[in-house]
């Protein structure tokens, strides 16, 4: 059953169309990735789904509740982690979690028990009595995620959860996301880290200029750009001089030499590697590695959106540090 259903959702701010007739659905239990550059409409979409913004037209439903008319019911089953930590600087970690639990109507005993559990899960037990303002960026992020799940939501909206934090904390957060998902929580994740989306998400939507330009399962998206089969061989010795003879023996393939001790073979058809192995054996060249090269999600993203990834990353990280 779909937990998120979006139909022709549009959001306009005066002349700017932030979200332009987007439609998609997210089945329960999925990790759904929403990828796009700055200003693509990712956060606006989350705001529309969570009740921080009103749609100009179209509809959105979360767990069957209309995000316009029944948003308070929908908020009961949502957890929301915004792109910037928004907990109370004056409160310590424990008080912040306890307060957030109270916003969902949890009784004192229950919320204190849950706050302690989450501090432990997120490795923040020692920091639990320190004021939030004294936390590092990574700790703040973890506590904000903990606050987002304190009421055991069915769906968790995570807006750029690992932007601007250290590698170790980012890794820990990714593991936590996977654990949460394994326990049955649906994850709606926006990120500009392609490799993060590739590692975590079941399905991905690319959003550019307020429009969804492609949506699909990871494999489907990969297949779309995988128009040829590529195999790379690695050798102990230099092989660049072999290129002409390989090309001569295998006229149906394209041979490349990415580095002196490697050969890359491209073919529009599936390849049988045995003739190649035999050829190298005859030339007395032991093969150390034969690897099938698959396109990365990054390549898919660049091909579909035409957006330079490095530029997008720099823009976002610059914003995160501010």
């Amino acid at each position: 059953m779909d937990i998120v259903e979006v139909d022709q959702l549009t959001k306009k701010y005066d002349d700017l169309t932030a979200v332009d007739r987007i439609s998609f659905s997210v089945p329960g239990g999925e990790i759904f990735g929403f990828l796009g550059p700055n200003g693509a409409g990712k956060t606006t979409t989350i705001n529309l789904l969570t009740g921080l913004a009103r749609a100009t037209s179209g509809s959105a439903r979360v767990s069957g509740y209309d995000c316009a008319g029944e948003i308070k019911k929908a908020q009961q089953i949502m957890g929301i982690v915004p792109d910037e930590s928004n907990l109370y600087e004056e409160f310590d970690g424990f008080e912040n979690l306890s307060f957030c639990a109270a916003l969902y109507g949890m009784q004192k005993d229950e919320r204190e028990k849950k706050a302690k559990e989450l501090l432990e899960t997120f490795g923040l037990t020692e920091a639990g009595r320190k004021p939030f303002r004294a936390y590092s960026r990574g700790m703040k992020r973890k506590l904000t995620i903990a606050a987002g799940i304190i009421h055991d939501p069915k769906i968790l909206f995570l807006d750029e959860p690992t932007t601007g934090i250290d590698v170790a904390s980012a890794r820990q957060i990714r593991q936590l996301i996977q654990k949460l998902n394994q326990k049955g929580t649906t994850i709606f994740l926006t990120t500009h880290y392609i490799e993060e989306a590739e590692r975590l998400c079941n399905r991905i939507a690319f959003i550019v200029g307020g429009k969804i330009v492609r949506i699909g399962h990871l494999d489907e998206l990969m297949r779309e750009v995988q128009q040829e089969n590529v195999v790379q061989f690695a050798f102990a010795d230099g092989v660049s001089n072999l290129k002409p003879s390989i090309q001569e023996n295998f006229p149906d393939v394209v041979v490349e030499v990415p580095e002196n001790q490697a050969l890359r073979i491209r073919s529009s058809r599936p390849m049988n590697l045995t003739p190649f192995m035999r050829f190298f054996e005859q030339k007395n060249l032991p093969v150390y590695e034969a690897r099938i090269m698959r396109p990365s999600l990054e390549e898919v993203f660049v091909k579909i959106t035409g957006i330079e990834l490095q530029k997008m990353k720099q823009e976002k990280e610059g914003k995160g540090k501010q």
Binding site: G51, L52, Q76, Y88, F91, A102, L103
Partner: protein, 244 residues
Amino acid sequence: MKSWIAFWNILMKDMRNYYLKPPNISWGLVFPVAWTLMFFLKSPTKVDVRELLPGVMSLSVLFGTTSMLAVTITFERRGRSFERLLLAPLDLNLLMLAKTSGAILFGIANAFVPVLFALFMVNLAGIHWISVFGAVFLIAVTSTLLGLLIAVSVREVFEAQTFSNFFRFPMIFLCGLFISVQALPFYLRPLSYILPLTYGVDILKSSINHNGHMGLLLNFLILAGFGALLFAWSIHNVKRKWIY
């Protein structure tokens, strides 16, 4: 029940984080004393403290509530922690009631500081305390909601403070505290009558010194009407401006 747990915790958080902080407690004590002293110093004749009470109480509430709520909400909006409240499954009316309750209680407490001082200086017999409390409560409600309207209109804390003064100072002179409404030029009187403070001050004058100009019931009804109107207007503005 669940909503009331949220309501209570928001109120307690605000009390702890803002209203019960030492600078605000000292403001609540210093402000009425400063106003009373000002009247003493200004007047060439002997000042009757009881005569001063309606004015000092009204101003204590007005100044305590308007700026406090405008500043605290603007501060939370800047830090985005206010978004957390908007994202909670709590009815917007109840949320705004929770946010305003702290300021209302702070205003009421401020109003009774000059009364405490006056207890040691003059005889307070014959005061109609129920209507005094009712007036203080309604002045606090309307002033707090004016503060909320200010908070909705600004983005920065300093803007909230500036904007508060823009409202408050004309109100002091038009509400009948220094110059009775009847003594104001005729073209200014309509302005006096659209200010909730005018009616609150009149109730306090009637209840403390028996020298109000309008009927108590009428004053209460108008003041309660102002409260309901300002609350509805504030909620409308919050929906329009904060849920984009």
